[in-house]
């Protein structure tokens, strides 16, 4: 039976009431792999997603009101963090940006070239900051120095480390000298949004950049308002006159406001609400792959996890299929390996089923490790993430069947962060990202995989050699070989246990057109317009 036949049968079953709407969505998603396709198959279907507006002339004007989960903590783009990223895409621009195909796209740059260990960037001429001054190469140098200053406070400092020198040969040219692969410079230029030098001291709450929107006001705990920057270097853009970003503390209130047309777009939707959005004819849904996954981390120095067989046994105790269906409502694909994207240099199809849910095998490994009657351990978690609590409970229930008594210590962020950063845990639940970026970033930035201060405390000479070689090798075939070995090593050593993909869902009213998002899933506002 081909895919279309299966879809037709599913649709008939839905019509006849044989299956529920949720079952239909979950099963059709597996067949099509696309929410757009699924929503088009639903009764009363309408064109979905941004592609609906392709080829149409954008209408300028109007106010785009966006609901975001939580308020900003700072608007300084050199200080990342999920709650703040949507401010960065309004007031600021990066020099280069990674496209969805992981190829660099010019933003403030006119061109760039790589010569051995030099990365030369030519800036576009005539781009102005919101305060009227022209952007020049010195501004990029200033931003590099600021991003690399640990006292500024953001982890962007790690991105600057592989860059050994920055020079400004002329007014519009910047020359980076780097170690290893040139992607390290692209990673930095993609993440480093350019701040205006003269006003950098107030950037925390009065941002000034070259971006599509000028900052107007921030009422903390309520909303931020931005107005169209008429001198934006992308002529004609942005299309909307005013952008309002409203902070919500509760996902239900946020969604109700979208349904009642009080906001046009919400940046973050929980998996449990996907079906509800697909069932509302006035709404559109976007699923973005942001290279993230849900996972457990294990501290390999804590007993009994200092024994590799115990960690492997833990991996066999995870029922990923049940977690995917019950905790993530079928919206997150179960994962064993972090390198789950086929475009990743470390991807290998043979690793996809490296571990399956097998309590017998887990019990056998525990017996071999000297724990035939199980053991006790604690899972440390972040109370703010209900999903983590839920998937931890699935593991706890299964582990108990073979005598492994796991306790969940769900902590507020003020208590969980210090434990997380110090590696003070047996098992920790949470999420990790950067799989869609160059592996150099994944192994330099992620606390569980980096070489220095790895919070799982895992280290080995072979691991260090492979990570170092991967960052220094430019030959793609050799890189693939290295990262496949690292993939297998992560699977074998089990200090990082991926569970399921972590996609980012956004939802919007049907009049929002030409939606597109940044590599990390945040909306790019300058291309969006309102068809109303």
């Amino acid at each position: 039976m081909d895919r279309n036949q299966e879809l037709r049968i599913l649709r008939e079953q839905l019509g006849d009431g044989v299956i529920t709407r949720r079952e239909f969505i979950n099963r059709a998603l597996i067949l099509t792999g696309s929410l757009a396709a699924v929503s088009a198959l639903l009764p009363g279907a309408r064109p979905c997603l941004a592609a609906a507006a392709a080829g149409r002339q954008p209408k300028p004007g109007g106010t785009l009101t966006v609901g975001k989960a939580g308020d900003f903590t700072t608007m300084d783009p050199h200080f990342r963090g999920a709650n703040n990223q949507s401010a960065h895409l309004t007031s600021f621009d990066p020099v280069l940006r990674y496209g969805k195909d992981m190829k660099p796209v010019a933003e403030l740059a006119a061109s760039w070239e790589v010569k051995e260990d030099k990365f030369l960037v030519k800036l576009q001429q005539g781009i102005k900051f919101h305060n009227g001054r022209e952007l020049v190469a010195d501004d990029v140098l200033f931003n590099f120095e600021r991003a690399g200053d640990a006292n500024v406070g953001g982890r962007l400092v790690d991105f600057t480390k592989p860059i050994t020198a920055v020079k400004v040969p002329d007014k519009y040219t910047v020359e980076f000298t780097f170690q290893g692969v040139p992607e390290v410079v692209v990673e930095l230029l993609d993440s480093m949004f350019i701040v205006n030098k003269e006003t950098a001291g107030q950037v925390k709450n009065r941002p000034v950049g070259t971006g599509p929107f000028k900052f107007a006001e921030w009422a903390p705990g309520d909303r931020a308002r931005w107005t169209r920057y008429t001198d934006y270097y992308k002529k004609g853009q942005p299309y909307v006159e005013t952008l309002v970003q409203k902070a919500y503390t509760d996902s239900e209130t946020q969604l109700v406001n979208l349904q009642a047309a009080q906001v046009d777009l919400i940046e973050f939707v929980l998996a449990k609400d996907v079906e509800r959005i697909l069932g509302d004819k006035n709404l559109k849904l976007v699923k973005a792959n942001v290279g993230a996954f849900w996972m457990f981390m294990v501290n390999v120095t804590h007993k009994p996890f200092d024994n590799k067989k115990v960690r492997q046994a833990l991996n066999y105790m995870i029922d990923r299929k049940t977690i995917s269906e019950k905790v993530f409502f079928g919206q997150s694909k179960p994962l064993v390996t972090p390198f789950y994207l086929q475009t990743h240099p470390g991807y290998d199809a043979k690793f996809e089923n490296y571990y399956t849910f097998n309590l017998e095998k887990a019990k056998q490994l525990l017996a071999e490790a000297g724990f035939p009657n199980g053991f006790e351990a604690t899972i440390t978690g972040f109370a703010a993430f209900q999903e983590c609590k839920n998937f931890s409970q699935v593991l706890m229930a299964d582990a108990a069947k073979i005598g492994v008594r796991l306790k969940l210590d769900d902590l507020p962020s003020s208590q969980a962060y210090p434990k997380y950063l110090a590696g003070d845990f047996d098992i920790l639940n949470g999420s990790q990202g950067m799989v869609h970026r160059d592996p150099v970033a994944f192994f330099a930035m992620n606390p569980s995989t980096r070489l220095n201060n790895n919070i799982t405390k895992y280290s080995s000479p072979e691991y260090t050699r492979l990570v170092t070689d991967g960052a220094a090798t430019r030959d793609l075939a050799k890189r693939k070989e290295i990262y496949k070995k690292l993939n297998e090593m992560i699977l074998d050593e089990c200090f990082l246990l991926p569970i399921a993909e972590y996609p980012k869902f956004s939802a919007m009213r049907s009049h929002v057109q030409d939606y597109s998002d940044h590599l990390d899933g945040f909306p790019i506002y300058y291309g969006m317009w309102l068809d109303k």
């Binding site: 900003f72 006292n151 953001g154 009422a219 109700v256 406001n257 009642a260 003020s414 208590q415 962060y417």
Partner: protein, 316 residues
């Protein structure tokens, strides 16, 4: 009368001092490091250390409290660690929305409670009494967040009659302002109306059996004159005191209602600041709300003393 008011004002001072200690300890003795909660995982150790110094967390607790109290006595509530805005500015920005919501809720509560409480007392043990008492029992038991969500789902989403959230300033758009205000004010006002109605019912029942009411009736006064001139005037005295206490409930309940209805008032500011561990804002806002509550109670007591001279003499 003047001495009575002065004595009540002086009694407020130790109450506020104790409150300031409780508010301070409540936040500072909670386990965990707020510097991590504020800056998140993206922060460098240097940034965490700098924030801890700026917040004064490297000082002993007593020193931290003394510094905060000194600042407080100079009328300075400090700055938000998150947005950098002065706490006073944030409070004044949000206060009008909370006043608007609380007074509207109180008005709705009085409009429901006054006829309900009176009818219930005058038609004691009748069908009307049981209906009003039943409504009050339900209204007091229903959690405000649930009632709020129910109203949003029904009135806003299903019927599309009123907007589910947000505030529009009255001077900008009077009709729009009322449309946005109605649902949160009703949600906040209904439990208050039930409490008020029960107070009124009890007070009226007590008064209408008193000798002076019987005497008035024996003198042949009209029933409405007995009710308004003799019964209600006296019954309202304990109700006025209850109103002062209920104002505290209004201010407290507004945290939940402002969150459900996305109302930009002090309650929502407090919740977001608690989530962000923005200590200075939480401390400042709670203290401000306490001062408002104490002031309302002081005014109520004064009004009570004015309405019932026995209060002044008893307290001498």
């Amino acid at each position: 009368m003047g001495r009575y008011v002065l004595r009540r004002v002086l009694q407020v001072v130790p109450a506020l001092f104790v409150t300031s200690i409780i508010v301070f300890l409540m936040l500072h003795l909670t386990p965990g490091d707020p510097a991590y909660a504020i800056l998140g995982l993206d922060a460098t150790p240097q940034a965490i250390a700098a924030l801890r110094t700026r917040m004064g967390f490297d000082q002993p607790l007593a020193v931290q409290y003394a510094l905060w109290l000194k600042q407080l006595l100079h009328g300075d509530l400090g700055e938000s660690f998150v947005s950098g805005s002065p706490v006073w500015t944030l409070i004044w920005m949000k206060f009008p929305a909370t006043v608007e919501l609380s007074t509207s809720a109180l008005l709705i509560a009085i409009l429901i409670a006054l006829p309900g409480g009176l009818l219930s007392a005058l038609r004691h043990k009748s069908g009307v009494d049981y209906t009003v008492t039943g409504f009050n029992a339900v209204a007091l038991s229903v959690p405000t967040f649930w009632l709020g969500i129910l109203l949003v789902m029904g009135v806003s989403l299903r019927l599309g009659w009123l907007p589910p959230s947000d505030r529009v300033p009255f001077l900008e758009n009077p009709l729009g302002s009322l449309r946005h205000l109605l649902l949160p004010a009703v949600t906040l006002g209904i439990p208050i109306s039930a409490a008020l109605s029960r107070f009124l019912r009890t007070a009226v029942l007590e008064v209408i059996n008193r000798e002076y009411v019987r005497t008035a009736r024996a003198k042949g006064l009209h029933e409405s004159a007995i009710l308004y001139r003799h019964a209600l005037r006296n019954a309202l005295i304990p109700v006025v005191t209850a109103l002062g206490i209920l104002m505290g409930q209004l201010l407290g309940g507004s945290v939940v209602v402002e969150t459900v209805f996305d109302w930009p008032g002090l309650g929502r500011l407090m919740l977001i600041s608690v989530l962000n561990k923005d200590f200075t804002v939480v401390q400042g806002t709670i203290l401000f709300v306490v001062v408002i509550f104490v002031t309302i109670n002081l005014l109520t007591d004064t009004l009570y003393a004015f309405l019932d001279p026995r209060v002044r003499y008893t307290n001498h």
